[in-house]
Symmetry: C2
Subunit: 279 residues, 2 copies
Amino acid sequence: MSRVGIINPGAMGISIAASARAAGHDVYWSSAGRSEATRQRAEEQNLLALASLNDLCASCDVIICVCPPHAAQSVAEAVIDAGFRGLYCDGNAIAPQKAQAIGARLATAGIDFVDGSIIGPPAWKAGATRFYLSGSSAEQIAELFNNTVTEAIVIGDEIGKASALKMAFAALTKGSTALLSAIYGTADQLGVRDDLEREWAMRDSDSVAQRRNQVRNVTEKAWRFAGEMQEIAATFESAGMPPGFFVAAHDVYERMAQFKDAENPPEIEVILGALTKQQ
Amino acid sequence: MSRVGIINPGAMGISIAASARAAGHDVYWSSAGRSEATRQRAEEQNLLALASLNDLCASCDVIICVCPPHAAQSVAEAVIDAGFRGLYCDGNAIAPQKAQAIGARLATAGIDFVDGSIIGPPAWKAGATRFYLSGSSAEQIAELFNNTVTEAIVIGDEIGKASALKMAFAALTKGSTALLSAIYGTADQLGVRDDLEREWAMRDSDSVAQRRNQVRNVTEKAWRFAGEMQEIAATFESAGMPPGFFVAAHDVYERMAQFKDAENPPEIEVILGALTKQQ
């Protein structure tokens, strides 16, 4: 059984931590600077609280990082500074070259690295959430999730493959919704939104409601998708593909970031107001 | 009954011309510089051949232009030079500001203008093809297609609305396929295409074949979609929306332009070879 540290137990991280707990491992988290709501979530899942990142790094054999993409590198630096000497897995939505850079940096501090990425919703039921892993020590991370609802899949020895897969997968889901949102904004600004929806409806009577909901349901998450779009743009560029889709998608999600705390999905007209406001 | 000139009777143009014929109008075309195949198609639809654009402009009350977007302005200039004095309808996939510029230019020569755009396949059966029209004389164009398989729909008095609708509609269909193609290229270059397709298949067993076919079936038309992507980029820019999706989509379709004369859709591996070749 391993001693696993989780950074940070947000909506996704807590579910991954819960799977490791279910497999019988001790799972720790650092409560420094975290909210009371996070503490409650962690206690409900029987995670063990430690007072600081230093304590976490001293207590754990393995650390798994699940954080927004912009924070991935600074978390890795903080773990180095805290003197960690075990196996570190980055599970974030970052470009493969960023994962490789993190791995190289950790290696200079004697820390072994596994590239990871999570596809699917927070892992609370079987069959929905895959934790993709790559790197020479990937099996060690995969084994932490044996017989749990987190399906760990090793896709190779190479650092960057797990991240590349996440980027390509999210490019379609989140890229398509950004594209659709920008089309709504353009049609609205040019006075043809009703005409466009009527043409869509003639082809498929359900399509207008589906497309409005696709845009409406992304608004709450848009604030954190913006950074992921930058990672995907960098990924496309490194693969020799045109990155412009995701430069634009980043702009779209930035314009929607204001809906972060909305209780219900806003009406399409409210979203269009935010999208088309003079930048 | 009107005397209608069609520029040019390509795959789409010939079907629009056939509808105007079916409604009882005389439909003319200029055979100057056109192929024997075009002549045969025109004769089959009982179009009347004239020797030159000058003759066409002298003989017709109405001219409808259906051509690739890059040629729209030069055709309008040629019609001015040929001394046309009737009603001119541009039915091309161009940015609304380009339609407005063409209309303004034609007005200086005393030519009345209607903005048009065609959504759907060539108009050979009812219910599939809409000819959207806008401008103060739009009804005059719409009436040419009464009781035919070309469904003419007037969406306003304003030049640019018909073009804007086409841009927004094509942005989703052609933009989505360009995005998917670029994702395939990225995943392939980064060594995760099989992993990506396996993840897609776990979510929907039909999705891999559907997505491969979506990419494969666009290749033959990619050469002419490239110019349309530039028009959509300009449209998004004029609406204050980020144009990068279509800058990238243009690059993707340019890379596929080589498949113009392919008899059958190429295999995905062949397409990926073209997409990922060093640019």
